[in-house]
Each structure stands twice: as C-alpha cells, then as structure tokens.
C-alpha cells in the first residue's frame, strides 16, 4: 500500500549512525546487518534467547521446545520497554551482543531500525507467513519492502460500559461520538462521568485520531512526511477540548490509575473507551464482577470503526546468530493455536495478531462480563475496521511526550488543538536534529 524505495532505506541506514552518536551511545558496528549476507539455517541444534517482559513466557517457549528439540528457546524476563528494557537492549546491541529475539513495541520498531538494531525478515522468507497475520498489524512492521518484527499482541479498541448506570440516567449506549457527547451531560447530573480523558498518556488521543482516519507520519521517497495537524486530527482535538471544557469527562484520573480504580469502584465511571487488554484490568475494580459489558467504540462520521492502543512484536535483533530459526519460532508463537493459547494462559496477553484464530478461551462467554462473548462480538470485528494507513515513526515516544506536555497545559488554559499544532512543529525539529529528512504534507 505504500510506495517506499530502496533509496529511503539507504537514507535510514546513513542517518542511523548519526542518530546513534546523538543518542550518546556511538554504536560499534552501526553498519546494517541487513546489508550483509543472509545467515544460513544452522542445520544443527541451536539455542535461541528471547528477552521479553511478558510474564511466564518461558512456559510458552517450553511448549515449543518439547516439539522442536533442534531449536530450543530460552526466555529472559526483563523490565518493560520504557522502564529500562529498551535501554538494556540498546546496551547489548552496542556491545555486539544481545538476544536473538526481543519484545519491541510496534511504536518502537522504527526507533530500533534507526540504530540498525533489527533484522529484515523479508530476507529470510517471512512473506510466506504474511497471510497468517492481521493485515493492519502486518503493515505496521513493514517498511521499505522489509519486515522488521513479527506482531505479537495488540489492543483493538471497544467501549466498556455499565448497563446499570446507563439505565439509571436513561441513556442509550452511544454508537457515534456525537451521541456520546449528547448523553454525557446526563451522567454529570447524576454525579458520574461518561469517561475519563488522560492528558499525559497521549496514546489514547492518538487512537481516537487514528480511528478518525488520521495518519500522522508516513515514509515517502524523499523522507518522512508529517501530517499531524491535519483537519481530521484537529477536529478530534476540538471535540475533546469541548468535552473537557463542558466537564463531560474527567481529566483528573487516567484510566486504570489508582484514582480511576477508586472512582470506578464507587460507580462514578459509566464507560471507558479502551483496548481489549483492559478486560483484565477491569477485573481489578472492586466489586466489578458482572457489572460491565462491552460495545463497539463510538464512531466518527468519517474514518474507521475501531482503532487500537498498544501492541508489541517479537523482533529479531541485529546480532542474532540464527535469524531464520528465531523467525520460525516467532511465527509459531504468534499464529499457531497452541502458541496463542499458551500465551493467553501463561502470559495473559491482551490480543493476538493471527488472522484466523483469536484463542480458545477468548471465544468462551465471559463470566466477568455477565456471560457476554465480548471478544467475538466486539473485538474480533474491531480488528477488521482499522486504519491501514497508520505508520509509526522513529521518535514516536518523544512525540507522545511532547504532545503530553502540551496537553497538560489544558489545565492552565491551553487547548488540545494548540498542543497538536505545537507538537507537529517540535517533531519536525527533532527529526531534523537527528539528521532525518522530513516535510509537511500539502494540505
């Protein structure tokens, strides 16, 4: 779907070393591993290491190990990416070592590409497996004709809601954001909020913009093209500016924060537009059993039916001695029914990227959601209604932080709209400082 060329890949490679110097870890061997000859399959017993922060992933790997004596996988349990995990991976890469596989979030894949940290799996024949994966997710790991990670989990968006509270205020479950804004005041009159809007976790706002059809950055022949402050995104920003100004949503308790858990337990939160992985978190709300249901996310009058928040990949790191075997394991882990079921059972992952299989336990009616088969009813269809044009960029996390800083000014009279416009300008600056080519989209 994207026209990206070899030239662009070269551009990334060249700027990669400059970025590494800027980042303060001048990496020995920043030449791309993807320019070197393909490593042939070992043909003898190999042991792979996998660094991931999912819990009990070794138990999942053991299922594979039992069936594949020639490819054994050892999992190291490391801290979450942004709580030190990535730093650890970057250090290991810089030292010329590191694991064969690592858990890298979708949004962080381009950042790893920038320091030549990932193996292009296209060269190891990954395309024959492409059909097994959700198309949108596959697009997010595909750059310039290469594939830089195997999708591992994701979070399609739906709306969790409390039927009893909706009934209490006499509101219908909104199918569009316009209806959502219409029914929201009724909850305020009853001392509740229809939802909360996190000012400092911008991944939620990003998901809303994504759903509306925005694509903030895309890679083109002549570098990156930014279209963050597009009308689509600004409309979404305006919508939530209004919602916050009218006190329809609370900004004082981010979803799943301690304050939010307390408010939800106290029947003050009527619904929550969030990702599929929120199901396990809702179970942490005191006395929530049986009270919640799931509906499709409200829609904009353009764009897509759903969106997603979060998601990670099993990526093959540049210094792997056995990329081919690592890729085979990653494909099994994330598409084989046995792998998926084990990931749900042991690691508690929120959604699987396979096209044909969502996991046996996810098809069951859920006791917590009052017997609703919410996964097949809501989240599985949601995966079919995603924005396929969305692409992450090499400084995603930094853009999120910049945007979050802007959003926080909302508390002192700023607006989300201003924050988006400012974040676009700042993102362009940071790109240029890193030596990356970027231009504004024509609009």
């Amino acid at each position: 779907m994207r026209e990206v060329t070899r030239r662009e890949l070269l551009g990334w490679g060249l700027t990669g070393s400059a970025a590494a110097v800027l980042a303060g870890c001048a990496t020995p061997g920043t030449t791309s591993v993807n320019a070197q000859p393909v490593v042939p399959a070992a043909g003898e017993k190999v042991t792979l290491t996998y660094w991931a922060w999912l819990k009990d992933l070794q138990k999942v790997a053991d299922v594979w190990n039992a069936q594949h004596p020639e490819i054994q996988v050892e999992v190291a349990w490391i801290p979450g990416g942004n709580s030190g995990g990535y730093q650890k991976m970057y250090s290991a890469l810089a030292a010329g070592g590191g694991p064969d596989l690592a858990q890298v979030e979708m949004r962080t894949v381009p950042e790893f590409m920038l320091v030549n940290g990932l193996v292009d799996l296209e060269r190891y024949g990954v395309s024959e497996h492409a059909g097994k994966f959700d198309e949108t997710l596959w697009n997010q790991v595909s750059f310039a004709g290469g594939v830089y990670g195997i999708p591992q989990d994701s979070g399609p968006v739906g709306m969790y809601y409390r039927p009893d509270l909706y009934e209490q205020v006499g509101a219908d479950v909104p199918a569009t954001w316009a209806q959502w804004a219409e029914v929201a005041p009724a909850f305020r009159e009853a001392g509740m909020y229809i939802d909360s809007f996190p000012l400092d976790d911008t991944s939620v706002f990003t998901a809303h913009a994504m759903q509306a059809g925005a694509a903030w950055l895309r890679s083109a022949e002549d570098g990156w093209v930014i279209d963050m402050a597009s009308d689509v995104t600004l409309d979404v920003a305006r919508f939530f500016d209004q919602a916050i100004d009218d006190d329809l949503v609370t900004t004082s308790a981010n979803p799943y924060s301690p304050g939010w858990f307390a408010a939800a337990a106290d029947d003050q939160i009527a619904s929550l537009v969030s990702a599929s992985w929120g199901d396990a978190l809702l179970a942490g709300v005191s006395g929530a059993e049986g009270k919640w249901r799931v509906a499709p996310a409200p829609r904009w009058d353009h764009g897509f039916g759903s969106s997603f928040i979060g998601g990670s990949t099993s990526a093959v790191l540049a210094n792997s001695k056995h990329p081919k075997e690592a890729m085979e394991f990653a494909v099994w882990l994330n598409t084989d029914p046995e792998g998926i079921d084990a990931m749900i059972k042991y690691s508690g992952i929120g959604w699987s990227p396979a096209r044909d299989y969502i996991g046996a336990s996810r098809e069951e009616p859920s006791e917590f959601f009052g017997g609703q088969r919410y996964n097949t009813e809501v989240f599985q269809p949601a995966t079919q209604q995603q924005n396929p044009d969305w692409q992450w960029w090499p400084i995603t996390q930094q853009t999120f932080n910049i945007l979050g800083d802007g959003f926080r000014r909302k508390a002192t009279g700023g607006t989300l709209v201003d924050a988006v416009v400012a974040a676009e300008a700042r993102t362009i600056e940071v790109f240029r400082q890193k030596g990356l080519t970027i231009r504004k989209a024509e609009r």
Partner: protein, 309 residues
C-alpha cells in the same frame, strides 16, 4: 536498675513524675524554647515526609487487590490479607523472590564489606605514607566521586561483555567493590585520627606495616568504616541501572530489578500490585535493620575528627 523496674511497672503510676523530669532536662541545656520548637517542628515534618511512604507500603501490603484502590489508602481495608500477600510473594514462580533477596544480600553485603576494606586500606595508605604522586591519586579519586554510577554503567557493560563477564554475579559485584566516596572519607579520617607517633611506636616494637594497619589503623577508623559500609550497602541495595544492563538471567537479579519486573506487569494484570507492595515491604526490612543496628557508630563517626584536639 531498680528505678527502671519501677517506672515500667504500672503505667498509670509512672505517668505522674515523668513529664516533670523531662522538662527539667530541657531547662538545664539553657536553649531558647522557640528554637527548640522550630527545630523539632522541621524535623517532624521531614520525618513525616520520609515515613509516610513506608506507612503506605505497610497499609497497602495488608490489602487485597480489590481493596487496594477502593478503600482509603492510609487506613486498613475491610480485609486483612497481609499473610496471604506475603506468602504469595514468597511462593510466586517457585520462590524467585527469595532468590532475588539472597542476591541483593550477596551484592550489597559482600560488595559493601570488601569496598569498605579497600577504601580503608587506600585511605590509610594515602594519609600515612609519603610518596610521589599521592596528591595526584587523591585528586583522581576525588574526581571519581563526581561521576555518577549511572554514567559508568554503560562503559562497564561494554568492558565486561568483552571479558565475557556480563550476565554473571561478577558483573554486578566487581563494580560494587570500589567506593571513591569511601576512599575520600577514609583518607580524611585516617589523617585526623590515626596518630603518626602511634604508628612509629608500633614500628619500633617490630610490627609489620600490614599488621599496624590491621590492628591499629582499622580499629581507630571503625566509626568511619561503619559510615562507608552503610553508604555502600544502601547504594548497592538500591542500584538499578547497573544490574539492569549487566544481567539478563532473572536468577541473578537483585530485588530492585525483580520488583520492577513485577511492577511492569500491572499494565495488564492488576494482581501484581499486591505482589509488588508485599515485595517492597520485605525489601525495606534489611535496610531498616542495618540502619538501626549501625546508626550509633554512624553518629559517633561523622563528628570525630572534625575538630582538632
């Protein structure tokens, strides 16, 4: 002895005379009451600031995950699940927490002891022997005090990877064996307290240099050594970044790294809140014990040598 027995016996009877005797003590010091009140108030605020998080941990560790956010954070919830939580902490994943705990004790205990010994030896040598370049050495080490440990972690990791020592006990232990600050403190302290004529006398009696250091030097320097040991113990116990980059086998993890792994899980699995708070509660105990047991040495240590006798 008898007086103590009497005052502890019936609480009501002892309550009478006590306040009187206490105010008598204050009066004798001749301090202005306003100053006393002000200083006490500031200290009380500081104490509250430091103790409230600990209190929160104690309270939170007694709650179930359900109660954790649904009930008042500063008072006990409806259920009392402390022992359930602690047993969950100790048994989760085959008792891996116990392993992390033992690792931390090893890194901090052994690292702290050896670092103290090395700092004492270095500081003593620099204070008591005259040789060319001693001020240069002192200057270099002093420079080392100014470099934060985090900044050296990455170069150390590259070095240890080359040596094939990354992801072993040594990779965390060896960097913990040096304490530039301890060296600095020991030199100053040895300068001020270990009398050169005492060393001379020992030499005349035929004691070797090592023996003088071990039997005289170390003993005189004890207060400083306790200070250095405590600093190093706390420093290693709380170190996060070095083990983070060095270790990838969770069997080698210290408690800081392990607890952070658990905390990362709360993004998806809220039951890890209880494991984490329970683990935090257990992990502060050794530090509290070390502080309380060793603080009397510390108090003596910091003032000595400050004034020339």
């Amino acid at each position: 002895m008898t007086a103590a027995t009497v005052s502890t016996a019936p609480a009501g009877a002892a309550a009478g005379p006590e306040p009187g005797s206490r105010s008598g003590t204050t009066g004798r010091r001749g301090r202005r009451p306003a100053t006393t009140i002000l200083v006490t108030a500031v200290l009380a605020v500081v104490a509250i600031y430091f103790l409230v998080p600990v209190y929160w941990v104690v309270v939170a560790a007694t709650k179930t995950t359900d109660d954790l956010f649904a009930t008042n954070g500063f008072w006990f919830g409806t259920s009392f699940a402390l022992f359930d939580n602690l047993s969950a902490v100790l048994t989760y994943d085959g008792g891996v927490f116990v392993r992390w705990f033992a690792n931390s004790v090893l890194y901090a205990g052994v690292g702290g002891l050896i670092a103290t010994y090395l700092a004492a030896a270095g500081g003593y040598a620099l204070a008591k022997y005259r040789f060319r370049g001693r001020n240069l050495i002192f200057g270099l080490v002093l420079g080392g005090v100014l470099v934060p440990g985090t900044a050296t972690a990455l170069p150390l990791f590259l070095l240890f990877s080359q040596l094939g020592l990354a992801n072993t006990y040594w990779s965390v232990l060896i960097p913990s064996l040096v304490s530039p600050f301890g060296f600095f403190l020991c030199r100053i302290y040895a300068d001020a307290t270990v009398d050169s004529s005492l060393v001379e006398a020992a030499r005349i009696d035929g004691a070797g240099e090592l023996r003088i250091f071990h039997t005289i030097g170390l003993r005189i320097m004890t207060p400083a050594l306790v200070t250095v040991f405590l600093f190093q113990l706390v420093g290693i116990w709380n170190n996060y970044f070095l083990p983070l980059v060095m270790l990838s086998d969770q069997e080698l993890y210290p408690i800081t790294l392990g607890l952070n792994n658990w905390r990362s899980q709360t993004d998806r699995l809220p039951e890890f809140y209880e494991l984490t708070t329970g683990g935090v509660l257990l992990s502060v105990i050794p530090l509290a014990v070390a502080m309380i047991a060793l603080q009397r040495f510390w108090r003596g240590g910091l003032t000595e040598g400050a004034v020339k006798a």
